[in-house]
């Protein structure tokens, strides 16, 4: 067993399983399995480690494990290892492994004790989560791009409930320029309602025109006066439409409101 790369103690520990069978099982796993000795040295690694890092198990043996880790993640690894030694509890960490071609693989590494009362050796499994990370990065980039686009538009983009207060579920950053109030003051009428900012003489007209349009299942376009936080009355232009459920009930109103005067 020791000759096949496994520490003799692990072999004893796994009594009853033939060494050949055990090696085959560990090599068949789609996660990398490694055993780390004192001074952070690799004592054993399975076949998947080679696929992940590009280093053969033979060449990896006795190498310091940190040298395979991205320089920026080495400190986190050391910290996780220290925590593990202090608590003796399994530690989970995301770090980057650099393969022989210089490519980076994001890995979820889990460190476990082998012996209850001995600090070393420890075993660790590495799961390649690069596709998951890439997919998350793409989602984040799409969200970030859309969010910054919506918030940079020089207008207020909104989604509101269809009630006389026009309770806002979402308002873009353009709200500040248009109304003089921060978007969060408007969301869910936390401090004020959009309806209260519409000039008293225009409120009924706005309500009626929107209701007519949504009953007819078409978009609406309105011009009315808005009370700005500065005390000014500003003329605004709004284009919007209702959002309907499958059953035809109105879920809310979405649209965009522009100021008709330059600031």
């Amino acid at each position: 067993m020791a000759g096949s790369g496994w520490p003799a103690k692990i072999a004893e520990w796994l009594q009853g399983v033939s060494p050949l069978k055990l090696n085959n099982i560990v090599d068949s796993l789609s996660d990398a399995v490694i055993v780390i000795e004192k001074h952070n040295k690799l004592q054993y690694c399975n076949q998947h480690w080679s696929r992940l890092s590009g280093h053969s198990p033979k060449n990896s043996q006795n190498q310091v494990f940190s040298q395979f880790i991205h320089p920026e993640d080495r400190v986190s690894w050391q910290v996780a290892l220290q925590k593990f030694h202090q608590s003796r509890e399994s530690q989970l960490l995301w770090l980057r492994i650099i393969d022989t071609s210089g490519e980076v693989h994001w890995c979820e590494i889990r460190v476990q004790p082998i012996y209850e009362h001995r600090p070393f050796p420890v075993s660790a499994t590495l799961c390649d989560i690069t596709p998951q990370i890439r997919s998350d990065q793409i989602k984040e980039a799409r969200y970030r791009s859309l969010n910054s686009l919506v918030n940079r538009v020089p207008a207020m983009i909104y989604r509101s409930r269809n009630n006389v207060h026009w309770t806002m579920e979402y308002v873009s950053d353009g709200c500040l320029e248009l109304t003089g109030y921060q978007p969060e003051k408007m969301v869910n009428n936390s401090e004020l309602s959009y309806g209260s900012l519409i000039h008293a003489d225009d409120r009924e007209g706005v309500w009626c025109n929107v209701q007519k349009a949504i009953q007819a299942n078409r978009s609406f376009e309105l011009c009315y006066r808005l009370l700005h936080a500065s005390g000014e009355i500003r003329r605004v232009h709004e284009k919007g439409c209702a959002i309907y459920s499958d059953s035809g009930s109105i879920l809310g109103i979405e649209g965009v409101i522009f100021s008709l005067q330059t600031s």
Partner: protein, 393 residues
């Protein structure tokens, strides 16, 4: 009883001298009487080249003789000042043959080294024993050290501290004043650059912008009148004005941008985050040379090349993924900016595009090599190789 007549002048002079004697601390007996501490502080404060001055100051025969005579087992004195990349510059007496073991030890110290802290501490290394005296700056955000090395047994900490306190205070005062001076010069340069940028913007850039429009109209007119000779000249003028306009804009932005915020890695990260907000591209920063990059002698030039490459990437690459890899190779520090877009060859090269020329010019100035090429897997790779012998030591 006859009243006692007291001379008012005598009374006053008596009381003043009593007060002076009582409240003016007795002039501290200089522990190294032959050392002029004020001169040490003054020289450090006013020097242009700290690393040339400190070895000479530490080598002063009066200082060395005093240390040898009054500090048992004294070996040498060092001043450690913070250097880029979280390291320390090690300054020792010019005539001191420093033991290589000691030099290695000091050079391996980093700002966050365990055991060297903001309080006086003692360390051992083989036959050597050191006492670290911290020299703090105003905000205590960086730390220089006065280090005294002993070969053999260290004298009592307190005794050494008392003997070296005036020297420590002088070096600290000098370094503080030196730091203030360097900061005010940097501030003045920055203000001057910003004012030049404003002047350039209001004068030359406006005129060049106008000329650009007019030269473009001139070209269109020549084309309309089918005059090929005139058209050739007009196009040439238009191109040169375009280049001059772009160069001026570049100068303005270089002057306005303060460049490096705290370190180059951080500035690149900031540039990346700024561009992320304006595009849907997935950016990835893979920095494998965090220490080396901070030692580059041309951080501003490097940052501008990276910024320009990233701007081009956002504007022209049509990429969905981009990454910056910073790594140290045997002969160079390499910065790779790669994307998975349409590549450089397939992009139509516009006559009025001067970004690449300016990047090349900047790279040449820092004796670095800039390569822009298609990637085998698709997309573009901008590669900046900065020779390692450029890294400041």
């Amino acid at each position: 009883m006859k009243p006692r007549v007291v001379n008012f002048g005598q009374f006053l002079s008596f009381n003043l001298s009593t007060l002076r004697n009582r409240y003016t601390p007795a002039r501290r007996k200089s522990v190294f009487p032959s050392v002029d501490y004020s001169d040490i502080a003054f020289q450090i404060a006013t020097t242009e080249r700290l690393s040339e001055l400190l070895p000479n100051l530490l080598a002063q025969s009066a200082l060395q003789a005093s240390c040898h005579s009054q500090l048992e087992n004294y070996d040498s004195l060092y001043v450690l000042t913070p250097a880029p990349g979280m390291k320390y510059h090690v300054h020792t007496a010019a005539n001191n043959q420093t033991d290589p073991q000691l030099l290695n030890y000091f050079e391996a110290l980093t700002v966050q080294s365990r055991g060297i802290s903001n309080s006086q501490s003692t360390k051992n290394l083989g036959p050597f024993h050191f006492i670290f005296f911290p020299l703090q700056n105003r905000e205590s955000d960086w730390m220089a050290y006065l280090v005294v090395a002993f070969k053999g047994k260290t004298p009592q900490d307190n005794q050494t501290a008392n003997l070296l306190r005036p020297l420590r205070d002088a070096v600290q005062r000098g370094l503080l004043a030196h730091q203030n001076k360097v900061e005010s010069v940097a501030r003045a340069i920055s203000q001057e650059r910003q004012s030049q940028a404003a002047d350039l913007h209001d004068s030359v850039a406006q005129i060049l912008g106008y000329l650009k429009l007019r030269s473009s109209s001139l070209s269109a007119l020549c084309l309309e009148q089918s005059n090929p000779t005139m058209l050739k000249i007009a196009c040439d003028i238009e191109e040169q004005i375009g280049f001059a306009h772009r160069l001026t804009r570049e100068l303005i932005s270089s002057s306005r941008l303060n460049g490096i915020e705290s370190n180059l890695s951080f500035s690149i990260q900031n540039a990346l985050e700024e561009l992320e907000q304006h595009s849907g591209i997935v950016f990835e920063l893979d920095n494998r040379a965090k220490e080396d990059i901070e030692q580059l002698p041309y951080p501003n030039e490097t940052l501008f090349i990276v910024r320009e490459a990233l701007c081009n990437l956002v504007r022209h690459s049509h990429a969905s993924h981009a990454r910056i890899i910073i790594k140290t190779e045997s002969k160079a520090l390499t910065i790779l900016i790669e994307d998975n877009g349409i590549g450089i060859q397939t992009r139509s090269k516009r006559r009025d595009s001067f970004g690449l020329r300016i990047m090349e010019e900047r790279a040449r100035r820092m004796r670095a090599q800039l390569t822009v090429e298609d990637r085998q897997q698709g997309g573009t790779r901008v590669r900046l190789d900065i020779p390692r012998d450029h890294l400041t030591i």
